[in-house]
Amino acid sequence: MLHEFIQLLSGWTSLDTAIAASAALTAMSCALPGAWLVLRRHSMMGDALSHAALPGVVLAFLFAVGIKQAGWVSDSQEGALLHVLLFSGAVVVGVGTAWLTEWVQRLGRMESGASLGVVFTSVFALGLLLIRLKADDVHIDVSCVLFGIIETAALDMVPGTSVPEPVLVNGVIFAVNLLLVVLFYKELKIAAFDPALATSLGIPARGIHYGLMAVTALTVVAAFTTVGSILVIGLLIIPAATALLLSERLKAVLLLSVLIAGASAVLGHAFTLTLPRMIFSRLGYDSIEDAGTAGMMSVTAGGLFVAALFLAPKHGIIARLVHRLRLGMNIAGDDVLGLLYRFEERTATRPPAVSVPDLAAKQNGISRWLMSLSVRRLLRGGFVIRQASDELRLTDRGRASAKSLVRAHRLWEAYMARHFDLPDDHLHETADRVEHFIDEGIQDRLQAELDTPAKDPHGKIIPEKPASR
């Protein structure tokens, strides 16, 4: 499988490099404003802006055609004119959409999602209609708008060089975005976290909002030719969301989202070259060689997100499951130790030992499976030893650990007895649940607060703090 993958990748040419580079720069330039959109909980605004870009582009073309027909520009100036029109159109449309959404929301007293939905669908529909009506002047194919065909866009070279044009355009946009983030990092941060505070500090939160919208619209228009108007949403949002799963520090999130964006673009193109052929040749379709890179970029980014969702070190699903399992095992192990310790306490004259099935019977609520697993862990850790006929006995190490646990339990009971208006016989159950969460630091604080009590409310001796472990 891997061999096949590498073999297919070996067909990588300079054209692939051009495509991957264009894709990566597009994705990275999107990731920066996208991260702020996610942080400000305006992700769907990205959706709206990318849809709204369509009429902006169409209008820019119409203007360009009009100006050219009027004979105001020469052929050589036309390119520059179109660039200017496109980017200024993008800013106008971006800010306009954001403003219209806000206006409809306020005037109609609607929920923001609903006003967004009304505005961007209408604007997009207007764009579609314009394309059809003005088909003679504006030659934009709807399919290209909706899917984006990065493969052919990357064939364009900057005149006189061998640099693909999307690389140049998106590279410039990326540099501009990076510069803006570096320059206005503090302002962006505070406006995202607490707009009211920002305003009171003299930072124009509304200005920042509209500025971000303008920059996003600019970036979206630059990405338009390569990935189309809908997949650009993914490039805006997914890298930032993935980065947010992986880190809690803002700078790290920004850096990570740029890296993830670049990685999903390059990987996306690599997968385009390999995966479809690998999958479909097995299904009997030998003619399938590749799939659209733009789509695969988005899918790859989604894949990276799902991977982060599961594998993230702290908040990932697997990390949480492992944590939970470990916690369950710790609790079961603690319960075994505690039981053995209490048994020892009662029958100090005889050598204490308890059988494993007995343990399971005593600790209802904990599955047999978990119990035997934790007993095995205790045995391996040298907390208990197994004697003949399946009986357990505490080692010194286990006794120290159990002591700490029982200490936590009884200290908590004493603490509750002081602060709670409860009969003494109600204390045990809660203490049993909580004892696992009380580490030595809290034990010491409990002890200090209770003036080093000797006995718990039931008259049992609270063990002393173990010397060292």
Partner: protein
């Protein structure tokens, strides 16, 4: 294996008992859930036919207590019985008045429609609200002094009137136990009197009401019983006995840092 069968059960457990008559008996209930205030080991039997205030500082877990009783928030441990049975089997005997701020008052329904929602469960699936039921809703609105506002859209009501609509929705359920979350919060004097009137009315017909209350000045005037809560049950009983300066000082005298800290860990362990 004789010795292990004789293994002494740690003598730190106890038997469970429930007074069958109690409208609400909470047994050793601990709630630690996701950024909500933790409540520790509440053990309480509500007396029948009384007005009971739940009093405590912000973040003491007053609303959480009610929500846990209603199974809206999972419990770590403990048990709740309503007239001797689990809540799920006794829903028809309990009426709940949520906080006014929990819903969107721009919603396109009239006061009467909201009150009729209290009847939906008795109506059952797919059955429309007919004339007979609408009449019931209007009667309940009349009881809270809003008969003239039945057709009014709810956003056109004042805050106090909205609160009374919620109260009417609970009344229409004809329950035996009423759980109310801050009904007196931010209401005008007329509403306060109307709510109080309804509460006294309920008491006179033998119903029980548990009311989250924030105004210490009026507790003694309005309520027979009081339940002082600050992450744990501080004291509960007849107002005259329990609502003392000493108890209030214990309730409002700051949070117990250790209880807070361990509670947060317990909540994390639950996730």
């Amino acid at each position: 294996m004789t010795e292990s069968t004789a293994l002494p059960v740690p003598a730190e457990t106890h038997a469970v008992e429930h007074p069958l008559s109690s409208p609400l008996s909470i047994h050793d209930m601990t709630v630690a859930y996701h950024r909500r205030p933790v409540i520790w080991d509440v053990d309480y039997d509500a007396p029948t036919g009384q007005l009971i205030a739940i009093v405590g500082p912000n973040g003491a877990g007053k609303s959480t207590l009610i929500k846990a009783v209603l199974d809206l928030v999972p419990k770590v441990s403990g048990e709740v019985r309503v007239f001797g049975l689990p809540y799920a089997k006794q829903r028809s005997r309990v009426a709940y008045v949520p906080q006014r701020t929990s819903v969107d008052w721009d919603f396109p329904v009239s006061a009467q429609d909201v009150v009729a929602m209290g009847l939906y469960r008795r109506l059952g699936w797919c059955r429309p609200v007919t004339k007979k039921w609408r009449k019931k809703a209007r009667e309940a609105l009349d009881r809270v002094g809003l008969a003239d506002f039945a057709r009014r859209q709810i956003s056109q009501l004042s805050g106090g009137q909205q609160q009374r609509v919620f109260l009417a929705r609970a009344l229409v359920q004809e329950a035996d136990l009423y759980l109310m979350d801050e009904p007196f919060a931010g209401v005008d004097a007329a509403t306060e009197r109307a709510i109080l009137h309804v509460l006294q009315d309920l008491r006179s017909t033998g119903k029980t009401a548990l009311v989250v209350h924030h105004d210490l000045q009026t507790v003694s005037d309005y309520f027979d019983h009081v339940l002082l809560l600050n992450m744990r049950l501080i004291a509960a009983g007849p107002t005259t006995e329990v609502f003392t300066d000493e108890n209030l000082r214990r309730t409002y005298g700051g949070r117990l840092a250790l209880l807070d800290q361990v509670g947060t860990r317990l909540a994390e362990g639950q996730r």
